[in-house]
């Protein structure tokens, strides 16, 4: 672990991965601290999945973490110099827009993480970011000129990020939407895009034990049955989904 930065309610961990391959936007890593276990209920035991926030040659890997339980809590406590075990990059990331569509990034809460590296790769891309409150909205600083909404109106638009998305799509529907966030948000994004025939790539979340296809624990339902989100995702084409509401995901 090289560096720890605080963005309101979130922590950014920067760590070295000298000989690891360069990750693609939307891919993730399984992370565990050198000292794992012994937290609430004698957890965490398994590693935890985190999207890449940023990766630069020589700059190392960055992750954005929200403390919501024993695993994220332990990671948020790490100090520079502490051990961080990582496996990755894993999974399938985002793919570039087709036939001249403009990219539209839609993020909710800690789900903004994969959108930051995707914005880096795309060059400029408008980002619509929704948060619960102002402390979380500080995460918006991680992307270039975002439009922000908060549930409590304490920062930016008072309401849901999908309000902003509807606006944008009404202005110019010739877009490909890239979204990551809580299940409820992803589901409204999916429905919005489906109504308008706008292609969307959704970075989903589900409980994972291994991250590399070994346990079959991370499945999500698609139009052609269950798929392992860790190897066939986490980014899925919205067209493959009847719903983005994954049982057990989110918190």
């Amino acid at each position: 672990m090289l560096e720890r930065r605080v963005y309101g309610a979130y922590i950014v961990l920067r760590c070295a991965d000298p000989d690891g391959p360069r990750p693609q936007a939307g891919q993730f890593y399984m992370l565990a601290a050198g000292t794992w276990g012994g937290g609430a209920g004698e957890r965490p035991f398994l590693p935890r999945a985190f999207s890449v926030l940023r990766a630069g040659a020589g700059h190392g890997l960055e992750f954005l973490i929200e403390d919501i339980g024993p695993g994220t809590h332990r990671l948020c406590e790490l100090e520079p110099g502490d051990d961080l075990l990582l496996v990755g990059p894993l999974g399938v990331g985002f793919t570039a827009p087709a036939d001249g569509r403009r990219p539209l990034l839609v993020g909710g809460g800690v789900g903004i993480a994969p959108l930051a590296i995707w914005q880096d790769e795309l060059g400029a891309a408008p980002a619509l970011l929704g948060f619960r409150d102002a402390p979380r909205a500080e995460g918006a600083r991680l992307l270039a000129d975002p439009r922000v909404s908060t549930d409590d109106g304490s920062s930016g638009h008072h309401g849901l990020v999908t309000d902003l998305l509807r606006e944008e799509l009404d202005n110019d529907g010739h877009a490909t939407v890239y979204a990551c966030g809580p299940p409820a948000m992803l589901e409204s994004v999916r429905v919005l895009c489906e109504e308008r025939g706008t292609p969307a790539q959704l970075a989903l979340e589900s409980g994972m034990a291994c991250g590399f296809g070994a346990c079959f624990g991370c499945v999500v339902p698609t139009r052609h049955g269950y798929v392992r989100l860790c190897v066939d995702g986490p980014v899925l084409d919205a067209a493959e989904l009847d719903t983005a509401l994954v049982a057990g995901a989110g918190h």
Partner: protein, 299 residues
Amino acid sequence: MTDLCGIELAHPIINASGTFDAIAARRVFGDALIEAFPFAAFVSKTVTLAPREGNPPPRLWETAGGLINSIGLPNKGLERYLAEDLPQLATLPVPLIVNVMGFTAEEVAELVSAFAEREEVTALELNVSCPNVETGLVMGADPNEVSALLGRVRPLTEKPLIVKLTPNATDVVAVARAAQDAGASAVSLINTIRGMALDPVSGRPWLGGRTGGVSGPAVRAVALAQVHAVAGGVDIPIVAMGGVQRGSDALDLIRAGATAVAVGTENFRDPAAGARISEELATLAANSGLSRNHTPLNC
């Protein structure tokens, strides 16, 4: 060299069924992982006659030093397994052990016959941790069920048949002895221990399958006790598993009477666990003067 009922293993460490997907792992980690394969044999996830979607999510719950899973044995079914997976698995540098399960003795017989013909398959592991839909009894918890099952399938193949015992039984030794007497080549244990978790918010069962199976270090001491007891009751070799994380855990199971040791949940924490554990075991075995074909301490 470890000899497991005729199966030649470069070292005693193999994978536990359903905890390592060699095909997916190659996609993720590349051919390097396959060439330096972490296990001395590859054990497949359970194959059933018909395809299975498996249980609805959520399928996982982390517990103290372990994991509860209710995966529900998703698999392509025999036909597609033979057509799609077997050719790829045949390219692995280690012997292939196919784990099969049926809901009736006839289903198991069909599976065994099908794999009996395929020389890519070195041995079969029979997962008997499921209810016999005809008798309602869990096959692996009842000595008579196990005798009847082996009576039916033992004649169908020359290949080694490894019977995988369930720990959710009053007398695991009696089941192991029944398997031996009915012609099993080896027994493997332990499978997962029945467990459950509730959704902290709703208070309803967290797992889509409502209950699941506990694995990992949390079950290690239970596995060692059952392996030790079974080793005292049968003469056929034992494949031991349950919470193995380190060479010392494997050494314990070998000292308790196991010939080979399978690594399961630890693979999820460390994709290279198999290789690491077999190295740790080799070092320990050297130091503790445990010879390759040792006789387990008669404790």
